[in-house]
Symmetry: D2
């Protein structure tokens, strides 16, 4: 079982705050593993929307998730404030894989680190299509530092 | 069908920021009605934890939810930043009912307004018990203005 | 604080199975109060879809939730199998209020009981509109027994 | 980007029903990628509880999630009935990796396929510990067919 190294802040190009919620904690009193993927979705889509690169339900071309994964290094719990670090690990013709790290706010090492792959599709046909140029240009700015 | 009036900010004693998430929106592209109750839970419990009045899973006496309700006035959608206004609408021997309003950040009128009743129980017996004095003192500070 | 009586099975016109999930339980090891509203949404919309009365995102006229509430009588926990009882408590020109009870599978008394009000709107304008006749006819079959 | 092959039913040793919910669908009207991980949690923990191998919050030794991943092949949507196929892909001294496939009920090919790794810990110390013998014996019965 090869386990990836625990990344630091320098592995990510931008950071976004993540607010925990009461229901994020499960019976073990820590944020449940599933919830981290919700942080990924929120961080990536929040960034795209803020950059005017996505209007959910209106953009004719958008990314659909085809693969995700996450390694968990240290537990966190509500009401801890968190941050999501984002970088682009791989940028293809029709797909982009983000590297994402979840940190305690201001923390040096990620508590969890994952990847999140979007394939861009034409909403009408659901067939893969080239990543739109404005999206690509912005993603290039998120290259792993 | 009597519908309560839409409250303004002056109906609440304190405000807490609420961050929306991608999954808060349902197929109608607005925050789903269920999610507001998660905002209530997070706002009330977050306030209690911050005031050192609750350590989930450790406090011997704590509130359990016996009744909630919400009226929806205007839809909101991720990534809109929100605020939860909190006040104490009724303070009894063993129970407290919070009034909660969900506002767009800085908004004048609540988009949704609800109530949330905690009965305090002894964790060991799950029987109702008097609200602990430090909790009561803090709750008195949240009286409807 | 007037607390409604705990309803039995005869207060509901139809029942639908509800499967609990790991994450339904919160740090107190019981199904969190918020989750019950998700059961309501799933039971009502599931029934409407099954009866061909709703195609989410396609039906030009559909119900939006304007008011909900729930009283909690007895806790349940994953992996307990549940049932949602449904009845129509009030049927107006443009709105319907469902009474919903959450039971342990086969249980005699509801563990939680709530209400759920849909106002029908024209999706294009989001203005209230008459409940479509096929929906009304089906709802009449759910009158409180 | 190497993409794993889409597994069939013969890749799994046991199947468990999964009921979808209204809120599983996101703005794209399909089950959101995050929700599949909730199906994984529910399927694995539900199986363990049913086999008397886990009492959440009481078992002194239990699995915590250290790594998960999922590849998405075909979208599904509420109210579609699903099944989760489970197999043990790797059984170590202190950890187990489950292979999980999410199928439409009765479907031949998985709509999503993932893995889910539990490391067993002593709840008191949170240090890794040997998988208890009864758990190991049961897991051996889930070997990839």
């Amino acid at each position: 079982m090869t386990r990836p190294a625990r990344p630091g802040r320098d592995a990510f190009a931008t950071f976004r705050p993540i607010q925990t919620r009461w229901a994020d904690n499960d019976v073990y009193r820590h944020v449940n593993n599933v919830v981290y993927y919700g942080y990924f979705d929120t961080a990536v889509n929040g960034w795209l929307i803020e950059k005017d690169l996505l209007v959910p339900g209106e953009s004719p071309v958008y990314g659909i998730v085809v693969e995700t994964g996450c390694t968990f290094f240290e537990s966190v719990a509500f009401p801890q404030a968190l941050e999501a670090g984002i970088a682009v690990a791989r940028l293809g013709e029709t797909s982009v894989t983000y590297a994402i790290g979840i940190f305690r706010a201001g923390g040096a090492l990620a508590c969890a680190a994952g990847r999140f792959t979007h394939v861009y599709v034409d909403g009408a046909t659901q067939r893969p299509t080239r990543i739109p140029e404005p999206v690509r240009a912005a993603l290039e700015g998120l290259a792993v530092p």
